[in-house]
Symmetry: none
């Protein structure tokens, strides 16, 4: 039997308010009911109501100051993790049609850069995938991925033009949990220029990715290069702030 207890009161209050906001019942800029009114409505004490409001404040949904009632700040909350992992899903959420042209799937020895990122010996076998990603048919991003061999072998029974590699791996029991993304800019090399239909040397937005599974073992190293006139990254720093971080490149 599935146990289905009623969630704690402060969560119910928070959910109710979240619902009203996302439903547009409380539009952006509108003032929320005062704490006293919420207490009455939900038959809760002020402490409980404040706990719910703190949660919303934390998500950046509401803001406001002492003396005046809280104000709705944003309507939607993003789920950035999936977004960062899956080009396919991200494109669909944006209302665009994702596409891909797989240029190469190969098993070969790891390059020095990939070996270092994956923590394996140079030349140890990895599976490399080179794919051109499209948005509404327009070449948008060139993806170079290196998977450690036990995971990469799963890619050979996968039609790489069918969509998301991550979803395929997820179905095979590989659950990517965490990733570190490094973002910088780089001039297009000859391969980039050809596939992205831009001039060699044109600035590209590069995202390098080191993905790990649930146990923390490194699984994938990726180098994605985006046309900056088509795609950017955004980060929101709300009050408490917990997003990106500058990192200085090693001057090795």
């Amino acid at each position: 039997m599935v146990k289905s207890v009623t969630p704690p009161l402060h969560l119910r209050v928070a959910d109710a308010l979240r619902g009203r906001i996302s439903r547009g019942q409380l539009p952006v800029g509108a003032a929320l009911p005062s704490e006293a009114q919420l207490c009455e409505e939900f038959t809760a004490s002020r402490g409980t109501v404040r706990q719910a409001l703190a949660a919303l404040r934390n998500e950046g949904l509401i803001g406001g100051g002492q003396g005046k009632p809280p104000v709705v700040r944003q309507a939607a909350v993003a789920q950035p993790f999936e977004t960062f992992l899956s080009f396919t899903r991200w494109a669909r959420e944006m209302g665009r049609e994702p596409g891909q042209r797989t240029i190469e799937v190969a098993r070969r020895g790891a390059s020095p850069v990939a070996a270092d990122a994956l923590g394996i010996d140079e030349g140890a076998p990895v599976v490399e995938v080179l794919r051109l990603r499209l948005l509404d048919g327009i070449p948008t991003m060139l993806e170079r991925s290196s998977f450690v061999e036990p995971v990469g072998r799963l890619l050979f029974d996968f039609d790489p033009d069918s969509g998301s590699i991550y979803e395929h791996l997820l179905g095979r029991g590989v659950d990517l949990r965490a990733a570190r993304h490094t973002i910088d800019a780089i001039g297009a090399d000859a391969v980039d220029a050809e596939h992205l239909t831009i001039a060699e040397g044109a600035p590209l937005l590069r995202e390098r990715r080191r993905a790990t599974d649930a146990t923390g073992a490194r699984v994938e190293y990726g180098d994605d290069r985006y046309r900056p006139d088509l795609v950017t990254f955004t980060i929101d720093n709300a009050q408490t702030g917990r997003a990106g971080q500058h990192v200085l490149k090693e001057t090795s």
Copy 2:
């Protein structure tokens, strides 16, 4: 007279614990004192202590579950917001010596781009700052900022070569709370090339910033261009994941 009241108790408790963690007094993996012990130590009620712990949990510093004491998760008091806001502070944390050369501080009509980002009329007065930021004396980033007039005027009694603009504004009662950062790549223009000592057209990592104060009013629009061989951005997608987000550029 500068008013210097003691901060609220729950903030003092949170700061004390943050300090112990970052000082290594409470290493990663260690269990925090129980709530009852903290109550005694700080002569506070449990509600107050819990408020402090909630703040730390929120910052990802501690974790834990019901029944067992909270556990230190990270040592780094990654304050990504400040980090993203203040070049000066970020550099110091990295152990580098920040520097700046102010090229221009001017009050003029807002450019179309800045006006749109700030939500004001084109040509409305703004204060523009153009600064070259250095790390250990090396030109690293070129910063173009536009402040709305009521805030920007505060910059004229500020020595722009003395350090952080944000710290100066903070001391004047302007509390920047939230910001949206948009990251892309762009080729260096003539001004960039001259000050950053690179070739014109070389790829630069660009971070555009729209900062708002506690009330949600837009205060600053910034365009920072980094040498990608010196600085990158990183984003960690950990368990809960709540970091960055891809965004498609408008094809206006």
